[in-house]
Symmetry: C2
Amino acid sequence: VSRILPVILCGGSGTRLWPLSRDDRPKQFLSLTGSETMLQLTLARVGDPAIFDPPMLVGSYQQSSELEVQIAEGGIGSFTLLLEPCARDTAGAIALAALSAGRPDQIILVMPSDHLIPDRAEFVSAVQRARPFAEEGWLTTFGITPSRPETGYGYIRCGGDLGGGVFEAARFVEKPDAVTAQHYLDEGGYRWNAGIFLFRADAYLAELDRQAPQIAEAARAAIALSPAGSHSILPDHDAFAECPRRSVDYAVMENAPRVAVVPVDMDWSDLGSWDALRDVSARDAEGNSVTGPGTLIETRDCLLRSTGVRIVALGVEDLIIVSTGDAVMVVPRGKSHLVKQAVEELRSQSPELLFSENPSRTAED
Amino acid sequence: VSRILPVILCGGSGTRLWPLSRDDRPKQFLSLTGSETMLQLTLARVGDPAIFDPPMLVGSYQQSSELEVQIAEGGIGSFTLLLEPCARDTAGAIALAALSAGRPDQIILVMPSDHLIPDRAEFVSAVQRARPFAEEGWLTTFGITPSRPETGYGYIRCGGDLGGGVFEAARFVEKPDAVTAQHYLDEGGYRWNAGIFLFRADAYLAELDRQAPQIAEAARAAIALSPAGSHSILPDHDAFAECPRRSVDYAVMENAPRVAVVPVDMDWSDLGSWDALRDVSARDAEGNSVTGPGTLIETRDCLLRSTGVRIVALGVEDLIIVSTGDAVMVVPRGKSHLVKQAVEELRSQSPELLFSENPSRTAED
């Protein structure tokens, strides 16, 4: 049995966890749930050599040195770096990876680099359930059993039972409003779209050729023009610049004829906000989660996180307080969506706060 | 008409405004309500040379260089420094000043260095009302018309009308509980004890001799043994160490036979807590008071104060957030009494946070 090639998408940027995450230090490079970074946890998840090939990391050219540091710290000896010359969203990034996979029928596991999946065994077991379908040419995706009417995630509706605990995907839906999300939960059969996919490289490329030929064409040209003999895969900039910006969901999955869903009943979070991070953080008897120097008096149900000065929280409840070397943010639980607005304001007001204090290494390392 | 000698008590230490105030940087040295420090505002209040002599500043030996800097920055050309060799509370400190006043019948105005009195004209006018009584040997004190049933201040009950808007003091009462404070307001005739006094040096010393001879004796010995020809007045350490620690209220005022109260109807605050400072701070249309770099979104009725990194407050109400170069504190309005408890905890946990980051000069200068 041939092994699965993990393709880890590392190119995402994001500041939803500002002030901890920065333009040049997105959350995959942060230690959010323990000492390892989200990328290192993702690498460890696909570390079993009986099942997985050495991973391929797809990241931006600018991130290459950070990627190498994280890989080395994660103890990964063998890997492939695929450095996107410019950002063209996930459909194009995955096309580059599929074209670089070696064999056309290589099974690849596409994963974000910044999601939380604590149960590795359950994850690998779901991948194994998906594998026979991927081998037959299905584009398989993983659907997380929803635990609440979350409006921050996309949903997949399960259709016909394909056997082996796998279903046809009946419909992909974008982030719903609260009423619709509750309706999905009540109705059942809806799963959270985790953005994790297992498929044969050629099956993906064939569907891309059919639905989004410009993406496939730009990726093929970029790979064809990449320099030979390089340490990393370096697709040609000008060729890839022609690639339309599309997500894999939108460009391929939503309208592909043979998409399968593997329902997975495990904890999962995209850690897409401070509230999401708080939800998965270990708490003490008072409901507080404290990382870094903190002094708490009469304080309950708070998330305190400092990579900078000591946070002293007195008589507060349900607050998220984050302190770094150059900013401190305070937001009540349930309102961390306001971070996006703050980041937009800071972009004109104090743009240096969107970049890490020390671009090479910061305090949370 | 001879002029009044202002005696400004600068020896107080305190961390009730931690993390802004520190053991070595009490609030008289901080700019809390504008660009000038509380001490500089106090000096300016008695700056009219038609009424006041150059001030005498009574402070600790350790504070002497900070005092000189503040005086120079405040533009005070002529002054006397009286440096207490050890802290013995206000009764002893005032005794040293009274003995150093030059003439026995010198009228001295004793004032804390860290109180807020925005209306200088009303203050000076009250001093002028008190003056005839002080000249006759009364120990006069100033009673602020209470605006709320404050439990953080002592009260003075006005007795018989002495004319000229001045009353006999019927009773001094310590900080009352909330019910008692409300009772004082309802009953009327009670005033806040502002800790400001006008009296003849000899009248004070005579009453001290009668009620607390050990204090008077220690102060006399300390002054007698102070080195001649020095730039500052330097009372002898060993002699003054014998002085009992007593407040002027307790040692003298509460039981003196001829104490007069000058009621004053003006804004006044001892700035004894973050809540007190918030109460007197200018606010914007959203009720926020922001000093230093701040970004506020959907935030109301907050006090934000940074001498360090930018504070980003999102969706919060009624919070006090203070950021310095080495700590950040968050406390809801109405709970700033918890700062005291935090400081006690930090004294063992992280004692360096009780001292200023840069003992010579800090960010708020």
